[in-house]
């Protein structure tokens, strides 16, 4: 079955620390990959996306993610987190031949200490 796994459910970091959130998926075909973010009290919004081309994609607020096809991974990174990055982060995948049905991971709650 199609699935998306996020390795960490809760992450606590101090400001200026580096961040890496893991995401692995199990899909057989060509995929599109996304990271969404939900800030406290707000609705989900897109952070970044990969469709094709350069596997290192840049998103808003200094986030980036790298697609490694051989590892079925799409890890999210940020070199230096800020208190305002406190949020829940969701990895999501859809399969181009599957009509773009999008499956999400369980989410990672990030808390950044000021």
């Amino acid at each position: 079955a199609q699935s998306v796994s996020q390795h960490n459910h809760h992450v606590i970091l101090s400001e200026a620390a580096s961040l890496e959130l893991g995401c692995n998926y199990s899909y057989g075909g060509t995929v599109n990959l996304f990271w969404y973010v939900q800030y406290p009290g707000q609705h989900l919004q897109l952070l970044l996306k990969y469709f094709s081309g350069d596997p290192l994609v840049k998103g808003i607020k200094g986030f980036e993610a790298e697609f490694i096809k051989s590892k079925f991974s799409f890890n999210l990174r940020k070199p230096s987190v800020q208190w305002s990055d406190t949020a829940e982060y969701f990895c999501a995948v859809n399969e181009r031949t599957g009509g773009f049905k999008t499956i999400f991971g369980a989410g990672t709650r990030l808390f950044v200490k000021a």
Partner: protein, 115 residues
């Protein structure tokens, strides 16, 4: 409208009652999704509509759950004979379905509490 609109934003109901949750997608978006967000459970896929195709209902947890989309626009998620485990935030999202390859735009959600 400017964004995905969901109503009601909050619903408190008694166990055994039926509830209807409504979603107005972004105009022109052909794809519409329903997800359920429970504490510690992430986003659980429920159902997906794409244009005039038959919906993908593979995520509906039981036959108490159903959804329809009228005229390719507004969608209603119905939960019959609600149970306490149905308490969650129900999220609706829409997308263009092509081109942007399914980038989703979410509504604010409908928080359901079953007493």
């Amino acid at each position: 409208g400017a964004g995905v609109s969901q109503s009601p934003s909050n619903k408190v109901t008694e166990k055994g009652k039926d509830v209807e949750l409504r979603c107005d997608p972004i105009s022109g978006h052909t794809a519409l999704y329903w997800y359920r967000q429970s504490l510690g459970q992430g986003l659980e896929f429920l159902i997906y509509f794409q244009g005039n195709s038959a919906p993908d209902k593979s995520g509906l947890p039981s036959d108490r759950f159903s959804a329809e989309r009228t005229g390719g626009s507004v969608s209603t998620l119905t939960i019959q004979r609600t149970q306490q485990e149905d308490s969650a935030v129900y999220l609706c999202a829409s997308s263009r379905g092509t081109g942007t390859a399914g980038e989703l735009f979410f509504g604010e959600g409908s928080r359901l509490t079953v007493l």
